[in-house]
């Protein structure tokens, strides 16, 4: 599913460059549930952003489903983000002026699905995450846990093969966090998509099949499996 070789990412820092990811190698099989752990600043979020095609890298190779992403144009990247990748952020990134339903519909609309069908599907997905009664609510009218459920519904509506979660429970209390985790697990069991989740939470990491530890831009040796 994911094949990363020698992936390097630097940021300009003062006069020089700061290496955030240093020749990362990573293989992820289809259907795997992997957690990524590391201190803040270790480069784990950058790695997830690169995998999610939100950012670009300096050198190395990143193949998604066998296609080298470095050679895909902007349009192709947009299509891949739309169809193949779902992304869930720590701070939800919902559009404040849109209702839950409209937020969830967005990926469908950008994928060219007619509005009526998109709306119906968005409703199904919101029901799936337990928000069937809050379709018209704006993000500000929802609790943190509910907002994250909306974000998960949005990430999944185009039925991507890859779901990326960047500290999905980071801003939630432990009970709500546990519920979100439970939801993700249920969806994983049901849909068999590949999941990469960044977390500080050992409990979440424990649910994953594999845990990667990142330190100073490198994946630590022997971190696979717990």
């Amino acid at each position: 599913m994911i094949s990363i070789k020698g992936l390097t990412k630097t940021y300009p820092s003062g006069r020089g460059k700061m290496t955030v990811l240093d020749e990362i190698n990573l293989e992820v099989q289809k259907g795997e549930f992997i957690s990524i752990m590391g201190k803040s600043g270790s480069g784990k979020t950058t790695l997830l952003n690169l995998i999610g095609l939100l950012d670009n890298f300096d050198s190395g190779s990143y193949k998604l489903s066998g296609v080298e992403m470095k050679s895909v144009d902007q349009r192709g990247l947009a299509r891949t983000r739309n169809r193949d990748i779902g992304f869930v952020y720590q701070n939800f990134n919902l559009l404040a002026n849109f209702s839950a339903l409209d937020n969830v519909m967005l990926p469908q609309l950008f994928g060219g699905v007619p509005a009526q069908r998109a709306r119906k599907k968005a409703q199904e997905f919101l029901e799936l995450v337990g928000l069937g009664d809050k379709l018209k609510n704006r993000p500000t009218q929802l609790s943190g846990g509910e907002q994250q459920r909306v974000a998960i519904a949005r990430a999944l509506i185009n039925e991507p093969e890859l779901l990326l979660l960047d500290e999905p429970t980071g801003t939630l209390d432990s009970k709500t966090g546990a519920e979100i985790l439970e939801l993700v697990k249920t969806l994983w069991v049901k849909n068999k998509m590949t999941i990469l989740v960044i977390t500080h939470d050992r409990e979440i990491a424990g649910e994953a099949q594999k845990t990667l530890h990142i330190k100073d831009g490198k994946i630590m040796e022997g971190s696979a499996g717990l």
Binding site: A78, L95, L106
Partner: protein, 384 residues
């Protein structure tokens, strides 16, 4: 996304940010309204002045005598070889009119029947002095509505009554409408007698002024030239001056044009200020929109889709503002009209103002959007 959906989402987004939308539209509304109303007033004033002037007759030449004033008959002889529709003499003198206990001092105008047409006057009641009145030196008088009212309390009562002017009794035979009385034409206070009647007791039969109306197809300036040619055979240029409507028209039109230009300039400034307002709001809202763009890109929107959305949104916003602006201008125009200032709507100017506003909206709505849509999704998402 289909255009229809983008339109729907534009309206949604416009209504979601009401204050921002109103502020943006306000610039467009005020700009368009100012242009249409000011240019409309400028053009309306110009055309109403022109109409007024032209209603006085485009080919009437006024001769004012300063010295060696001829009599009416002498003037007719001088002008016998000039083709004219009418020659209207005017002889003036002062008088005091008395009716019962009311008394008014006034200037008297002695003239002929053609005075009514050459001065574009209208009768409110009765008849104007006729050629027969002049032949018979009848003691008849035509009064302006205002003066008739002050003498007879009710102007209509004056008709047929005897009015004593300088101790001679005159029958009031007609009343002039003072409706289009203005600076140029003070018909409300006119007291008009047959010229022969006015001059019958005086030795001096000379006239002070004459209105010469040309034939229908004679140009005013041509007529003035011919008149000057024949008058200079017996008079010098110091004795008289001619004044054609053409000259007045020319002067008035140049005044009106500079008025229009000035109003247009003020309007253009409003439009520019409005445009700057639109620009400011569009630039200010970029932070918010950049994150929105980030979210949309992250879920798979292409740059093209995002730009299309922003373009349509700017078009809808400025178009809506433009329509409101044109509507308000029409309302304001009719208010201005009812206040007595002529307002002429101008479709060309309205369209131009509308187009400029639209252009401003698109440019300044789209520029930040283009910049933001070129960001990497992660940078747009993180934008603060």
């Amino acid at each position: 996304m289909s255009i229809l959906q983008i339109l729907k989402s534009s309206f949604k987004s416009i209504f979601a940010r009401k204050l921002r939308s109103i502020l943006t539209m306000l610039g467009v509304i005020i700009g368009i309204m100012a242009v249409i109303v000011l240019v409309g007033i400028g053009q309306g004033t110009t055309s109403s002045v022109m109409e007024n002037m032209q209603s006085l007759g485009g080919n009437i030449v006024t001769i004012n005598f300063r010295s060696n004033n001829p009599t009416y008959d002498e003037l007719k002889t001088m002008l016998q070889n000039v083709q004219t529709a009418s020659i209207t003499p005017v002889s003036s003198s002062q008088g005091t009119a008395v009716y019962k206990t009311n008394s008014e001092s006034m200037s008297l105008t002695g003239t002929t029947a053609t005075y009514l047409d050459s001065q574009s006057l209208t009768l409110m009641a009765g008849r104007f002095i006729s050629d027969v009145d002049n032949e018979n030196r009848s003691n008849v008088v035509v009064l302006g509505g205002t003066i008739a009212k002050s003498l007879f309390d009710d102007s209509y009562k004056a008709l047929g009554k005897l009015l004593r002017i300088n101790n001679v009794y005159y029958t009031v035979i007609g009343l002039l409408s003072s409706e289009n009385s203005d600076v140029m034409n003070n018909s409300g206070n006119a007291v008009i007698l047959p010229i022969a009647t006015l001059q019958k007791s005086s030795v001096d039969k000379s006239i002070s002024r004459a209105y010469v109306m040309g034939m229908k197809d004679t140009d005013g300036s041509v007529l003035a030239n011919r008149i000057n040619t024949v008058l200079l055979k017996t008079l010098t240029s110091n004795d008289y001056s001619t004044f054609g409507q053409e000259q007045v028209l020319e002067t008035m039109s140049s005044v009106s044009n500079s008025l229009s230009l000035m109003l247009g300039g003020i309007a253009a400034i409003s439009l520019i200020v409005g445009g700057i307002g639109v620009m400011n709001i569009m630039l200010v809202s970029v932070t918010e929109r950049t994150r929105e763009i980030g979210v949309k890109k992250a879920v798979g929107a292409t740059t093209g889709a995002i730009l299309k959305q922003f373009l349509i949104e700017a078009l809808v916003l400025c178009g809506l503002g433009g329509v409101i602006g044109v509507g308000l201008a029409a309302i304001l125009g009719s208010v201005v009209n009812s206040m007595g200032i002529t307002f002429t709507g101008n479709a060309g100017i309205s369209l131009l103002a509308f187009g400029i506003s639209l252009l401003i909206g698109i440019i300044f709505g789209l520029l930040p959007a283009i910049k933001a849509s070129k960001l990497k999704p992660i940078d747009a998402l993180k934008y603060e």
